[in-house]
Symmetry: C2
Subunit: 198 residues, 2 copies
């Protein structure tokens, strides 16, 4: 997605060979116009999939998801990172390990919002090691919902997440795929943008 | 805002005399179409205020804020509830006490995204005791930004937050104001919806 790639080129900050900071438009400060276009792009790529729900995780997944939901006309559910202890029997949960923060989070959603009749689009801001997406897929499986695909704003193509998810048979659509952050330069993988890599 | 009030009437669940659960469209599952209309309503009420930034707090403030930002064409900043310890000198912070969860959270934003030239619209999903809004206003003051107003999706008019903020001189616009949740029934304050109560 050219608009997004240009935004990353302009405003992304390479902190190390593995860390790209985009908190000027995605993770902390949010650019609503860009989110709208991102939502439109997700909607266009998944519009024939019969999506009934979008599933994401707080907090940075919410803005792109709600814009995709606006255009696909489906509700968004965001998984919370902490369990509500009073509701433990009414939740689907999974554990997500963050390599960046080096901590595990329990993520969960209320059972009543997802069931076997749902076709779910999982959306997240970043795909690195794939832990968050795998956790969300896990929750969808608990609910016996079908996973129609995974929409990612920025994929770090040099980490394993995309490969793992595609090998598991998921259709992964990443709007920007980064091949390398070496020497402080963002290099994009342009060949397969928008395609499912088998 | 009639659409919102009808949605609360239909889908809101009164858990006690002080707790209204709206996690089917606002706090957990999100209705993007409704969020779009909420954003439009905020934009229309504050459009003559010269807003340059919207300031909110993760996670439930993000969806209405990003829709308001879309229509006011300004960026949204969401305060995080946990400090990034490596960035401590680059953050504006404040402490927010949650009466519901009975815990204090440090909230913070990166200094570079707010300054004395900004006119800020603070948006949040709920206004009860006003702690979150006061914390966000505190952060805006640290940045010497001007606070143009406070937009609230649902105000619990029977709690003190709205009164405190209005007495401090803030323009508070609540799209639905609840007068009472007694006996399991949601009663709305209809007289002053959309008006600044002096």
């Amino acid at each position: 997605m050219e608009l997004l790639i240009n935004k990353i080129k302009e405003d992304g900050i390479v902190l190390s060979d593995s860390v790209l900071k985009v908190d000027s438009f995605l993770n902390h400060q949010i650019d609503p116009q860009l989110m709208y276009e991102i939502g439109r792009e997700f909607a266009s790529r998944f519009q024939s999939e019969g999506i009934t729900k979008i599933l994401t995780i707080e907090s940075s997944g919410i803005a792109p998801s709600v814009m995709a939901g606006l255009q696909l006309q489906v509700p968004v559910i965001f998984a919370r990172k902490r369990k509500s202890l009073t509701l433990i029997n009414e939740l689907y949960s999974s554990t997500v390990y963050s390599f960046t923060k080096q901590e595990s989070n329990e993520i969960s959603i209320a059972k009543k919002y997802l069931n076997e009749n749902d076709r779910v689009l999982i959306i997240d801001d970043f795909l690195a090691n794939g832990q968050a997406a795998i956790g969300l897929a896990d929750i969808a499986k608990h609910a016996k919902a079908e996973i129609a695909g995974i929409g990612i704003v920025i994929e770090k193509g040099f980490q394993d997440g995309g490969k793992i998810l595609r090998e598991q048979g998921y259709r992964v659509e990443s709007l920007a795929r980064i091949g390398s952050l070496e020497n402080g330069i963002v290099t994009f993988i342009t060949d397969n943008v928008g395609e499912t890599v088998k």
